[in-house]
Symmetry: C2
Subunit: 344 residues, 2 copies
Amino acid sequence: MHGGKRMGAGQPTIFSIAERAGVSIASVSRVLNGVGARRDTVERVERAAAELGYVPNAVARSLKGGRTRQLTFAMPDIGNPVYVAMVRAIQAVTKAAGYRLLLHSTDAVVEDELAVLRSLGDRTSDGLIICPIRITDAHVEALRTAAGPVVVIGSLPDGVPVDSVRADSVAGAALAVRHLHETGRRRIAFVNGPSDTVPGGNRDAGYRAALDDCGLVYDPDLVVHTDFGIESGAEATDRLLAARPDAVFCANDQLALGAARALHARGLRIPEDVAVAGMDDSVLAQAGWPPLTSVDLGSTERGRRAADLLLRRLDTPEAATPSSTTAPPRLVVRASTGPAATDS
Amino acid sequence: MHGGKRMGAGQPTIFSIAERAGVSIASVSRVLNGVGARRDTVERVERAAAELGYVPNAVARSLKGGRTRQLTFAMPDIGNPVYVAMVRAIQAVTKAAGYRLLLHSTDAVVEDELAVLRSLGDRTSDGLIICPIRITDAHVEALRTAAGPVVVIGSLPDGVPVDSVRADSVAGAALAVRHLHETGRRRIAFVNGPSDTVPGGNRDAGYRAALDDCGLVYDPDLVVHTDFGIESGAEATDRLLAARPDAVFCANDQLALGAARALHARGLRIPEDVAVAGMDDSVLAQAGWPPLTSVDLGSTERGRRAADLLLRRLDTPEAATPSSTTAPPRLVVRASTGPAATDS
DNA sequence: CCGCTTTCTGTAAACGTTTCCCGGAACTGG
DNA sequence: CCAGTTCCGGGAAACGTTTACAGAAAGCGG
């Protein structure tokens, strides 16, 4: 005649098990969590649990324990392979540590990003990795007052007390431009992402610096800002052709794929007539023809590190001072920047 | 001198608010949920909540309410644009209905899919949309005993009492093959996905049926099974070239992109020497050159419908008998299946 | 000024766990 | 057979909400 509590039909709970096994709920909980118990008790409880098809209620468990064993990753665009690479890297780490990963696609909308940051307070997940494309004052404020551990993938102003993992897209862009210069290109066009984003700004800086290095002058007619995406890359490149570039450097692989399509459509050969280079070295770099030269900004590496940092932060909440590491860029040369045609 | 309860420093709770506002927790809850209260009370509570930066604990709320306002979508591969399209479609519907969407990438691993199905029992989300690539007996059993509403995107054996939304890939594959035949191709190779999957089997059936229709004979040398992915498509196509096909039909756009790359690498022209067609009509169809003819299997539509069904099921758990709808395929013709070279 | 109705508010229980703290059972050794 | 240990198991509290219930306050007409 054990326990009162409700006895409804719904999902089995530890009460149903306790009743069926003829023990208390405390014993059920202990057995299910592998805490010592008498042989006999263990067996009865386990049998009852199996027969009822018991699954522990994660919500109740979280409420009691104060942790959900869930982490969140918020990225700008789930359709961009670069973030998919990060997801995989993060997933691998968090899964091994026994955490479930929740994915969030913010479409780079500031309001959405802030909402994610604030939602840390609702205790739905134990920590957050976020990859914002712009950093506003509101972001800084939200990061400062976040209700749980956060790791940022991207560049943060100094003084924000949050772990971050950065890409060096200034150096990365320069790498690509110098490579194009070395293969003999002199009119290097640049299809960049939105200019008011952190990566957009950095890539622009890298582009300009490298031009300088190479003794080339910055020509506004060779530069276009657009949003990321294959179509945008194609349109932008089409417009740029008026300025007769001998190379098109794109701020990511999607843009570069679009650029290649536009060039093909005009009957121009890659790389003989125009060279093309992208960034991110995502799966897309090897999707089209010719395979694209691209700058690997270490997305996988950044994802992995971010996840490691987050886990560390979960272990020792206020211990270490915020760390900030930068993944080095790496140029991957493929056919799209091969030698130019010797004639002309 | 209100309430006892704990008073720690942690996150603010309705207790902190109650104390600060000098009212009971019941009043706090009521005000926060917009239930009637006296002018004065409302103001005091709202001010206290704002000052403390209160965020309701979603876990506690879920425990009490028995629902999480979260739904799960489990897909085989987060890197495949077709599932990204589904995510977007599902997201749009669920977000509008006030649900958060959790994403899960199963890598088409049966164990993982079953785990997701079983995890419905842990009450972490209120419902599940799952897209399995194979259906084993274990799947059927798990679906039958699922602890919450499930909608399957994909084909299910008869008699499984679960809502489903199907693609007609038999008809879809036939559409593509007949189109290739109409453009004069007679040696139509087929790069298919794994043969032990439902889509794999169906596409094979469609391919064979269409060959029959067109009076062509099935030639095993023209058919390859591989896994999905650009690299696999390239390798498979390379092998197929020994059989001198004049068209390559691929079971999805990733394979088709790989096929195109392999053909380019051999110096073959598309479509003059070999035509290429894909399936899914994902963003990748327009990523390379030439743009790919592809069969739209209605991924967006299927995602939308699946979400609608799930929401309906959440409203009226046991009402309607399980529904099963099929999205019609649609052939999208692009340059990759243009006319063959007239010589040769 | 009294009793009635109508608001409003506070107490307490419940959601399903985990875990602290005892009391009792089972051993051990003398 | 008894005292001392050790081990197990049960009762109850707690996690942060929502909500049924009942009591207090306030408004009202007579």
